[in-house]
């Protein structure tokens, strides 16, 4: 029986499919397992970091040096696909990790914008949301950190030139923005989830086809890699409980 966390790992891994020789920057446990699964299987050319200043192979051995200043150059050079978290995300893919409430005097101060503004204008940026709810998927984010499609379009050609938000993966399903007006669309449901459930947990109307497919099943080898090689301690289940 494949667990919900394992479908999430697969969906995250598929985000880096056919990306070629770029840095996979996963933020969060499930995306980190997904990036390693992608590199072990269908995307062997991916670059990975140790989470600090090194580029590492699957065995953890260094193959390059990537301190923050060079990491930022990799962002602006575009040879990177990051999967960020989101405290809030709206239908056009605007993301907030800075604060909740009025910026002048927030009710909850969070991290700050971090690199979300530069990421979204320069390299493909996907999002991972471990707990899909109306608190996260909101009508309007309180602070635009990661730039969504409507905000990029309003800011002009320099903002849209390299702007791309390929995927959003949550514990309920997979989403993209491949609609005529770039609003979020339900691409697949993790098995056991209904489209109504997803819509109920989302604070704006989701685009979706009449028949939404399920997130793909893992191969036997993918399951073995997740369970025995990449995450034998089951850290994935802590981020997405069964």
């Amino acid at each position: 029986m494949t667990s919900r966390a394992e479908y999430c790992v697969l969906a995250c891994a598929d985000t880096w499919r056919d990306n070629g020789e770029v840095l996979a920057s996963p933020m969060g446990t499930v995306p980190a397992i997904g990036a390693r699964l992608a590199k072990r299987t269908f995307s062997p050319d991916l670059l990975l970091t140790d989470g600090e200043a090194l580029l590492v192979g699957l065995d953890g051995r260094a193959e390059g040096w990537l301190p923050y200043r060079q990491h930022l150059a990799m962002v602006t050079g575009g040879r990177r696909h990051v999967m960020m978290g989101a405290s809030q995300l709206d239908r056009f893919g605007n993301q907030n990790i800075s604060c909740i409430g009025d910026w002048e005097r927030p009710s909850r101060q969070l991290l700050g914008v971090r690199g979300a503004p530069v990421n979204t204008l320069n390299n493909p940026t996907s999002y991972w949301v471990p707990k899909h709810s109306r608190r996260v998927f909101v009508e309007k984010v309180d602070m635009v950190c990661g730039v969504g499609y409507d905000s990029a379009a309003a800011a002009g050609p320099s903002a849209t030139r390299y702007h791309r938000l390929p995927r959003v993966v949550s514990d309920l399903g997979v989403f993209d923005f491949a609609t005529p007006d770039h609003t979020m669309r339900l691409v697949s449901l993790h098995p056991g989830v209904t489209a109504e459930e997803v819509q109920d947990a989302t604070g704006f109307p989701l685009a979706r086809a009449d028949e939404v497919p399920y997130t793909r099943e893992p191969t036997a080898e993918e399951l073995r890699l997740i369970r025995e090689v990449i995450d034998p301690q089951g850290l994935r289940d802590r981020e997405v409980p069964a």
Binding site: Y68, W103, R105, S107, P117, V118, T120, V147
Partner: protein, 279 residues
């Protein structure tokens, strides 16, 4: 040759209320904490702090030393949200200039290169432009005609950084994996003060690329063994996670009373006592 060694108190004696102060390191990593602690003991206040923020920001915010903060984030890394920074922000205790990580870096580079600004493809379309209404854009003078954010130079009155080794002349060496932006902080400031784990007579057979900070950009050198505590200063030591957790969960007056009442030596000894009690 000029011997630039001084004490943390000497450094703080050269700082004034109202100054713009850059602090090196990143998050809860290689922060010049002994110098920050000396600053906490002084009456210097009303500071504009420029930092990739960690507990340096949390401590200064809790002590009411900050008038304005320039940052892209404040975090303790293993504890994602900095509690004292959050508390101060949520009561509107200081002004904030919130910019993106790359914008911040280009601001340092502009200052180090004596340029008024540098163009960056970041910030456009985000609320960084809304919350920093003074930010301007610049149009490429070439055929592309693209528009970028003109990130203003982050010029500072003084910078504080911490490295693994330094000599008396002000040359600083880092031995960890990441230089962060410490050399840029020094070059972007009118005065820079480098604290170090160990003062050395020379750097022996050191890999030359580890000699990060150059003496022409340094005003003072301070030997402060364990001076980055409780942030990490690898390979000399990792972050003191247990103590960081204590910092993040103890009410500020209680923490300050136990650990910050005396000088650096009494801080280090209070930390040691706390560890012995909790061993």
């Amino acid at each position: 040759m000029t011997d630039k060694t001084m004490t943390p108190e000497d450094v703080v004696a050269r700082l004034r209320s109202g100054m713009t102060l850059g602090i090196g390191g990143w998050g809860s990593r290689r922060k010049p904490m002994a110098l920050v602690r000396a600053l906490l003991r002084s009456d210097v206040t009303d500071l504009t702090v420029v930092s990739y923020g960690g507990p340096d920001v949390g401590l200064l915010a809790a002590a009411g030393k900050i008038r304005r903060l320039v940052t892209a984030f404040v975090t303790l890394d293993s504890i994602p949200l900095e509690p004292h920074f959050r508390a101060a922000r949520q009561v509107g205790a200081f002004e904030l200039s919130e910019v993106d990580e790359a914008m911040f870096m280009w601001g340092l580079r502009a200052a180090a290169n004596r340029l008024p600004f540098l163009p960056v493809r970041a910030g456009l379309g985000s609320d960084v432009m809304r919350v920093n209404p003074e930010l301007r854009t610049v149009t490429s003078p070439y055929e592309d005609g693209e528009t970028f954010v003109a990130m203003p130079a982050l010029r500072m009155d003084a910078a504080l950084v911490h490295v693994n080794r330094a000599d008396r002349l002000g040359n600083g060496q880092y031995l960890g994996p990441d230089p962060y932006f410490d050399d840029l902080f020094c070059e972007a400031a009118d005065s820079a003060y480098v604290s170090c784990e160990e003062l050395v007579a020379d750097f022996g057979t050191a890999a030359p690329q580890s000699l990060l900070v150059k003496r022409h950009a340094v005003t003072g050198v301070v030997a402060t063994p364990h001076g980055a505590h409780f942030t990490s200063c690898v390979p000399d030591y990792d972050r003191d996670e247990a103590f960081q957790k204590l910092y993040a969960t103890t009410p500020w007056p209680e923490f300050a009373a136990r650990f910050l009442h005396g000088d650096e030596k009494s801080y280090q000894s209070a930390v040691q006592t706390w560890h012995e009690e909790n061993a």
